[in-house]
C-alpha cells in the first residue's frame, strides 16, 4: 500500500526493528568484542563494554596453538567440493523431476528428504568401518562425498522448486532449435537458473561449513575443517572466554562475511517452493 507512512511511524518501526535485530545478533557481536579483551576483563563483573585494553593477543595465542589456515582451507575445500559435486548430481535429477514429472516425483523427493532423518550417531560405526575399508578416513574426498550426500536432498529440492518456475516452453524451444539434452541443460536451463543455483550453492556451502558431526568424527588432521578446530577449544583450562571468543570468531567469520555479502541471492532462492 503506497499511502505515505508517517515519519514518526517509520521512526518507531526503525527503533523496534533495530532493537530486535541487535538483540538477535548480540551474541555474535559480544563474542567479537570479547575476543579483543584480555582474559580477566572478559569475565569482569560487571561486564566491560568498550573501555577495555584492546588486544589481539587472543588471536595470536589461538594461532600459535594450531595453524588456523590448515583448517580454514579444509573447510573451504569441503564446502566447495561437496557443493560442486552435489550440483553435478542434483542438476540432472532436478531437471528430470521438474520437467518430466511422474506420479511418483513428489514421493521420490520426500523419500530423498527422509534420508536426512537418519541419526548420524546410529550409523557412525558402520560408516566408520566402511571408511576404513575404503581408505577414506581423514581424506578430503571422503568428507566431500559424505557432505554431498547429506545435503543432496536439500540441493535437489531447492533446484527442483527453482526449475519448476522456469517455463518448460523455453526448453522445448531449445529442443526445437536443435539443442541436445546436454546443451539444453548447459546453454539454456543452467544460465536461466543462475539465481536459484546461486542460492542453492550458498545454502549448501553454509550447511557444509557448519556440519559438525561427520567432519569431527571422520577426520584427524589432513581433512580437518574448522569445526574440528573449534572442538579443540570447547573447554581449555583456566580463564578462556577471550580465547574462546577469538577462536569462535575465526571459525565463523569467513562464512558470516560470505553470508552477509550474498544475503540477497541467498534470500531470493531460499524458499523451497514456499512462495508461489
Amino acid at each position: 500500500m503506497a499511502r505515505a507512512v508517517s515519519t514518526s511511524r517509520k521512526a518507531v518501526n526503525t527503533a523496534l526493528a533495530w532493537g530486535v535485530a541487535l538483540l538477535i545478533a548480540f551474541p555474535i557481536l559480544w563474542t567479537f568484542l570479547t575476543s579483543f579483551k584480555p582474559e580477566p576483563q572478559a569475565v569482569a563483573s560487571p561486564p566491560v563494554w568498550f573501555g577495555f585494553d584492546w588486544t589481539v593477543r587472543n588471536y595470536v595465542d589461538v594461532q600459535n596453538q594450531r595453524d588456523y589456515f590448515d583448517y580454514f582451507w579444509n573447510s573451504v575445500i569441503l564446502a566447495l567440493g561437496s557443493t560442486a559435486l552435489g550440483l553435478v548430481i542434483a542438476i540432472p535429477a532436478a531437471w528430470s523431476m521438474a520437467f518430466v514429472p511422474g506420479r511418483r516425483t513428489k514421493d521420490l523427493l520426500m523419500w530423498m528428504l527422509s534420508t536426512k532423518m537418519m541419526p548420524g550417531v546410529a550409523v557412525l560405526v558402520p560408516i566408520y568401518l566402511i571408511f576404513i575399508q575404503l581408505g577414506l578416513l581423514d581424506t578430503r574426498i571422503g568428507l566431500v562425498v559424505v557432505l554431498m550426500l547429506i545435503n543432496l536432498p536439500i540441493i535437489v529440492w531447492m533446484l527442483y522448486t527453482y526449475f519448476r518456475e522456469i517455463p518448460g516452453e523455453i526448453l522445448e524451444a531449445a529442443r526445437m532449435d536443435g539443442a541436445s539434452l546436454g546443451r539444453e541443460i548447459l546453454y539454456v536451463l543452467t544460465p536461466m537458473a543462475i539465481p536459484g543455483i546461486a542460492s542453492t550453492v550458498l545454502l549448501n556451502i553454509i550447511l557444509a561449513w557448519n556440519e559438525a558431526f561427520w567432519t569431527i568424527v571422520l577426520t584427524t588432521t589432513n581433512a580437518a575443517p574448522l569445526t574440528k578446530f573449534i572442538s579443540g577449544f570447547s573447554s581449555p583450562q583456566g580463564l578462556f572466554y577471550a580465547k574462546l571468543s577469538a577462536a569462535s570468531t575465526m571459525a565463523i567469520a569467513p562464512i558470516l562475511i560470505m553470508g552477509w555479502f550474498s544475503q540477497k541471492q541467498l534470500v531470493r532462492g531460499l524458499t523451497f517452493g514456499a512462495v508461489k
Binding site: P167, E169, I170, E172, A173, A174, R175, M176, D177, G178, A179, R183, Y187, V188, P191, M192, I194
Partner: protein, 333 residues
C-alpha cells in the same frame, strides 16, 4: 517445402483420449489456422506435429517422408510459443542465432542470417538488448526471428498473440500475415480467437474435443458452417440461434441468423422485441433484444447512429437468404 500429412493421428494422455484418430493434409505454403475452444486439443495437435509429444497411434509425414519417430530438431519445423520462450539470458542476437549455433553453422554465416532476419522484422536496433528490455510485441518478433533464420519447412505458432494487448494484437496480426505473403512458407497457427482465424487463414481447421468439425477457407466457414458448433464459433458477435416453431417455419430444427443479417425498424418487421443493453461503437451499434419469444436474447447489428435506446420496442427482420438451417443433430440442411 512444407507439406504435412497426418493420418490416423491419435493422442492419449493416460486414459483420456485427447485426440481421436484424425486425418489432415496441409499443403505447402498454406496458412492453416487451428481454432477451437479452450482445451479442445489445438496445442496438443501442434505439439504432435512439432514432435514435442509422441503420437499414440497414426503417422505424420512431412514433405512425403515419415516423420512420426523423428525428434523435434530433425523435422525441419520452427515453433513460436505463446510465452515467446525466449532465452532471457541471451541478447536478441544470440537468441536468434541459437538454432544456427546448435546446427554448428559458421559464425559469419550466422551473423549474416541474423542481420537479415532482424531487418525483416525491424529488430536491427534491438539486437544487443536482452528480452527483458523489450516490449511484448518486440519479444514476439524476436521469437519469430528465431524461427525464420532456420528457414524451416513450416512455422508452427501456438497462440502467439494471446499475451499482447488488443492494439498490439491487431498490429502483430498484420505483420504475421505480411510475413506469410513474403515468405510463402507453410504456417500452422493455433488460436482460440476467431477474429484472428478469420483474418489470417487460408484454411481454418475448427477443432472441438479433439475432433475436426470443419476444414475450409474463412468465408466458406462463415457462409456455410457445416454444423451448429461451427456456426456458433465462427463470426463475431455470434450467430443468433433459434429453435422451436419459428425454426419449424423454415423446415428446420434450428435456424441461425447472424447479427449483421437482421434489419431493425421501430415499427415494422417480423419479430417484435425490447432492447436491452445496446453497445455503441461509433461505427456500429449492437443491440441485445429481449422478449422476442424466440431466444433469450437476439443480437443485432445496426449502423453507428441509430436512434434506438434501452427499453424501446423494436421490430426485427432477418434477411431470409442468409438464414442457416440445421437438423436435430445440428448438421446443416
Amino acid at each position: 517445402m512444407g507439406q504435412i500429412t497426418l493420418s490416423g493421428v491419435t493422442k492419449r494422455f493416460g486414459e483420456t483420449e485427447v485426440i481421436p484418430p484424425l486425418d489432415l493434409n496441409i499443403e505447402d505454403g498454406e496458412f492453416v489456422v487451428f481454432v477451437g475452444p479452450s482445451g479442445c486439443g489445438k496445442s496438443t495437435l501442434l505439439r504432435l506435429i512439432a514432435g514435442l509429444e509422441d503420437t499414440t497411434a497414426g503417422h505424420i509425414s512431412i514433405d512425403g517422408k515419415d516423420a512420426t519417430g523423428l525428434p523435434p530438431a530433425k523435422r525441419g519445423l520452427a515453433m513460436v510459443f505463446q510465452s515467446y520462450a525466449l532465452y532471457p539470458h541471451m541478447t536478441v542476437r544470440k537468441n536468434i542465432a541459437f538454432p544456427l549455433r546448435m546446427a554448428g553453422m559458421a559464425k559469419d554465416e550466422q551473423d549474416r542470417r541474423v542481420e537479415a532476419a532482424a531487418k525483416v522484422l525491424n529488430l536491427t536496433s534491438y539486437l544487443d538488448r536482452r528480452p527483458g528490455q523489450l516490449s511484448g510485441g518486440q519479444r514476439q518478433r524476436v521469437a519469430i526471428g528465431r524461427a525464420i533464420v532456420r528457414e524451416p519447412a513450416a512455422f508452427l505458432f501456438d497462440e502467439p498473440l494471446s499475451n499482447l494487448d488488443a492494439a498490439l494484437r491487431v498490429g502483430m496480426r498484420l505483420e504475421i500475415s505480411e510475413l506469410h505473403e513474403r515468405l510463402k512458407t507453410t504456417m500452422i497457427y493455433v488460436t482460440h480467437d476467431q477474429v484472428e482465424a478469420m483474418t489470417m487463414a487460408d484454411k481454418i481447421v475448427v477443432l472441438n474435443a479433439g475432433r475436426i468439425e470443419q476444414v475450409g477457407s474463412p468465408l466458406e466457414l462463415y457462409r456455410t458452417p457445416r454444423n451448429l458448433f461451427v456456426a456458433g464459433f465462427i463470426g463475431s458477435p455470434r450467430m443468433n440461434l433459434i429453435s422451436g416453431p419459428e425454426a419449424a417455419r423454415f423446415d428446420a430444427h434450428t435456424i441461425g441468423i447472424r447479427p449483421e443479417h437482421i434489419g431493425v425498424h421501430p415499427t415494422l418487421g417480423d419479430w417484435r422485441g425490447v432492447v436491452g443493453v445496446s453497445e455503441h461503437l461509433g461505427s456500429d451499434t449492437f443491440f441485445h433484444v429481449h422478449e422476442t419469444g424466440l431466444a433469450e436474447s437476439l443480437t443485432v447489428r445496426a449502423g453507428g447512429e441509430v436512434p434506438i435506446r434501452h427499453g424501446d420496442t423494436v421490430f426485427l427482420t432477418p434477411d431470409a437468404s442468409k438464414i442457416h438451417r440445421f437438423d436435430q443433430n445440428g448438421l446443416r440442411l
